[in-house]
Symmetry: D2
Subunit: 102 residues, 4 copies
């Protein structure tokens, strides 16, 4: 089952600068071989359900190993059976509607 | 790794009444043996990471088998290493602060 | 426009115990006169769009006044025009489907 | 109060192709004068709390006017008082940590 997913991970109790933790998680994704994109409010990923969720679990493990005691993560996951969709395709189909004024 | 998690599953393209799909997913949770609570905006679950996420994946599979072609699910997942926390404990600790006016 | 909404507020950089901040926000809701329910992963609220969002904004202000420098809040908001729905009604309609095995 | 926010709006009961509704909402943002970026799983926006939330409310109104009877929207909103942060800055600070291997 293929997913298009977004997640954002919030380490709690380690101060207000979170970028080094986000970076650690980006490295987990880089190793996973998954296609992903960091943006201002989270990371978009696409791939097989099990591989994607294994990467997110690994992010929690890595952050706890960095002495983060508490983590809250938001995940939005989409699946569909009518056709294969990509992250790029989702943006393009909105862009197409905007261009056509439809 | 223990999690306290909330999720809500939105079947897309099957009309505006979603309760039968939510009910199908509640049955998946009942079979899982996990502790869970339905509320007005989602379902709270606690348990082992892998067991909880396997149940959510199963919800997607069951809904797709019910001919839902597209699903969007929101998951909020918390882990912590300082101590074991329960869903009941989270509500009680806020209640305690409210009682003390603190 | 009436909303059924859930939100959870995460104060960042103030340690791992967040209950006193959640309690401060519950007091904002109590003063608002809105119908709300705290649960293990957030707070459900129902009411007029503007009143509900004013309360959430006030929560951010109150927490910043308590010296929280950074806050991340998750909001899930639903509106519908087909009929008036209540939080209680949402749970009951799922329960009804479960009872009927439907 | 300045916010960095992400939202994604799900029209329910209007079929599985949602791009024309997302496009309608992008037009609301374009008119608002806010800085925003569409990505595969939502739209990032930054600006004043009231202006940003007024735009999201307007999206709900516009979609209901397009005969969408039910809408579920996810919003993640961040505020901070330590310094002004931009969406671009959030991505750059993670990128910086990745470059330094830190």
């Amino acid at each position: 089952m293929n997913v298009i997913l977004e997640f954002s991970i919030i380490p709690i109790g380690v101060g207000i600068s979170l970028s080094k933790y986000v970076a650690a998680c980006e490295r987990v994704l880089a190793k996973s071989g998954l296609h992903y994109e960091l943006h201002a409010n989270g990371t978009n990923v696409e791939g097989d359900w099990d591989t994607v969720f294994a990467a997110i679990k690994r992010c929690h493990e890595v952050l706890h190993e960095m002495d983060v005691q508490r983590i809250s993560t938001l995940i939005k996951v989409g699946t569909r059976t009518d056709r294969k969709q990509t992250m790029q395709g989702m943006v393009l189909s909105v862009q197409d509607k905007l261009d056509k004024g439809g």
